[in-house]
């Protein structure tokens, strides 16, 4: 059951993902979760010309001071085709945020290799090719919304990366009227939209999102999910999305990576074969519930697969 937790040979990468629909082939290289010709993604890399968007090989990471037999990440292999939307989900302590931090180049790995479109995270950030959206909006409170969105252009100019005009970005997230307001004047949902606009402005190769909507109320979160889908559809970038919500993962993703804890590793990879673009009708359909149940079942087994946390109070 431990896909991705490779032991010697690279089972996951070759045999690929477990598709939720039984009829599907199991080799991801020729497989696309949902065929959607001409959906506004300029060139569909999936299926025919596979460019590995993100490639993770044998990644191991120990947190300093933690038990040596329980690494935060142990021998993680993961391959995400370019322009896929992938969610990382799993019980707390499974290392999904650690994995995201390593992908972002904020943290180093003890062993293993990470490449984002063939580059190391450091090289990618040097080219400003990584967009990061964290749980908190992480805006600069002394700058207006517009200046915040323009920030990536003003920092690290030697990369020579141009960003989209801030006004266009704000229009894309529906905040053009708030351009000259300051962050403290906006609601949490609006702030997170600004953060998304800021991350997208560079047209990053990879967009890394760490539970970006988890602090928002249900309605706002749903609205932002659809908005994010729309933006992703237009801009075609590889997204790694850490989440705690099964529903959110299924609504957004092409592929869901279920991780298990202690040691942190990939438990199972599930494909989501919901058609795109995903509107409310798709999401409310009966298939959606099957998918959610599948992910929940996988999470259950992932939870059982991991050792019990040390700090769990015995019942």
């Amino acid at each position: 059951m431990h896909y991705g937790h490779s032991s010697g040979d690279d089972r996951w990468a070759r045999r690929g993902t477990r598709t939720i629909t039984p009829s599907r082939t199991n080799t991801w290289r020729v497989h696309s979760a949902t065929p959607h010709p001409g959906l506004g993604r300029p060139d569909d890399h999936r299926g025919t010309t596979v460019t590995a968007g993100i490639e993770v090989r044998g990644l191991t990471k120990h947190h300093p001071g933690a038990r040596p037999d329980r690494p935060a990440l142990q021998d993680v292999d993961l391959e995400i085709p370019h322009r896929q939307f992938v969610s990382l989900i799993g019980p707390s302590g499974c290392g999904k945020s650690t994995l995201l931090r390593i992908l972002a180049g904020l943290d180093g790995a003890d062993a293993g290799r990470v490449s984002l479109l063939g580059r190391s995270p450091k090289q990618a950030s040097r080219r400003k090719a990584i967009g990061l959206v964290s749980q908190t909006p992480a805006l600069l409170p002394w700058l207006t919304v517009r200046q915040n969105v323009a920030l990536p252009a003003r920092v690290n100019r030697r990369a020579g990366t141009a960003i989209d005009p801030p006004d266009d970005l704000l229009r894309a997230v529906g905040l053009e009227d708030s351009a000259h307001q300051y962050p403290h004047e906006l609601s949490g949902g609006m702030l997170q939209r600004v953060a998304v606009a800021r991350a997208l402005g560079l047209r990053p190769d990879v967009l890394l999102m760490d539970e970006p909507f988890s602090a928002l109320d249900e309605f706002t979160r749903e609205a932002l999910q659809y908005q994010l889908l729309g933006l992703w559809q237009e801009r075609a970038t590889t997204v790694v999305f850490v989440t705690h919500s099964v529903h959110e993962a299924v609504v957004l993703s092409d592929r869901i990576v279920v991780m298990s804890a202690r040691p942190g590793r990939i438990h199972e990879v599930l494909d989501v074969d919901l058609p795109r673009p995903r509107d409310r009708k798709v999401v409310r359909g009966p298939h959606m519930h099957d998918l959610e149940d599948r992910v929940r079942a996988s999470l259950q087994s992932a939870w059982k697969a991991g050792a019990a946390p040390d700090d769990l109070v015995p019942l």
Partner: protein, 302 residues
């Protein structure tokens, strides 16, 4: 809550109408409620400064204190001068007080400029170069715990009765609070924001200039709020010590006290108090201008 709902409707409308959020028409009226919404309620609750409820309590205390003062002054004219005499001294020779006040104020301000300025620069260096921190911090602490009044006579011996020793005393007094606060402020950067800067591969200089220094501003201004009134203390103490110096309120108070001219002593004290208030008001003004974004400047609701 209501404004949150308004936002939600707008977003969902935008995506529901063909998934094109860019074309979602936003009625201009929907945004302002977010910041403007609570404002009227707050304004209603907060009274205008002209309202008696605001100034009356302080006035009552002032009158009571004045009466008590006058009672003591009538009974013991050699302990306290009459309020009228103090006023007369101030009005009688305003130029004398203005000149001396200016002498003291200029020392205080130059002292703050030197002390706080060097503390700020040093804090920047310490935050970027750990070695500097380890080299400097012990001595800064020792300098802080040493009573400056004790150094002042030695400084006068070394530098004479001019401005230099007084400026040095004031600078020493103002140095440490600024150093500590700015150091803390430079480190008080939210981690997620720092992460965003790091994924953009921002240089240290950019992180310092665009992130750390603005983040430290609330701490710097809090330090100035403490240090500006302190600078007057430093200047006056230095003037006390440097006997025979030409001007300054400290010198004047000292000389007046030794010749038992109590009205001049208290007139000088009034001038110093007024200067202190003025400096505080100045810091508050700057805080309002620069820290509009900071939590401390927002009324706590609920």
């Amino acid at each position: 809550m209501r404004e949150e709902a308004g936002i939600v409707t707008r977003v969902t409308d935008g995506t529901a109408e063909g998934g094109d959020s860019a074309s979602a028409p936003v009625p201009p009226g929907t945004i302002p409620p977010a910041p403007g919404g609570p404002a009227p309620a707050r304004g209603a609750r907060r009274r205008s400064p002209a309202h008696p409820f605001v100034w009356l309590p302080a006035l009552v205390v002032l009158v009571v204190l004045g009466l008590a003062w006058s009672a003591v002054a009538e009974a013991h004219p050699y302990i306290l001068p009459r309020l009228g005499e103090v006023g007369a001294a101030l009005v009688g020779d305003p130029l004398l007080f203005l000149e001396n006040a200016w002498a003291t104020l200029s020392i205080a301000l130059v002292g703050v400029g030197v002390g706080a300025g060097s503390a700020f620069v040093l804090a920047l260096l310490m935050s970027e170069i750990p070695v500097v921190r380890r080299a400097v911090m012990p001595f800064a602490v020792v300098l802080n715990v040493t009573p400056v009044v004790a150094i002042a006579p030695a400084l006068v011996v070394a530098f004479g009765f001019g401005m230099t020793p007084k400026v040095i005393v004031t600078a020493i007094i103002t140095f440490f609070p600024v150093l500590i606060n700015v150091t803390t402020g430079l480190r008080s950067v939210p981690l997620p924001v720092l992460h965003v800067f790091r994924t953009l591969d921002a240089s240290r200089w950019e992180v310092l200039l665009r992130l750390r220094v603005p983040s430290s501003l609330p701490y710097t201004l809090a330090a100035l709020r403490v240090v500006l009134p302190l600078s007057l203390v430093g200047a006056v103490v230095a003037e006390f010590v440097a006997a025979g110096s030409s001007g300054g309120l400290g010198t004047m108070i000292r000389n007046s006290a030794s010749s038992a001219r109590l009205d001049h002593v208290y007139a000088g004290v009034v001038c110093l108090a007024a200067m202190g208030v003025l400096l505080l008001a100045l810091v508050t003004l700057v805080e309002r201008r620069l820290l509009f974004w900071h939590d401390s400047r927002r009324p706590t609701r609920g």
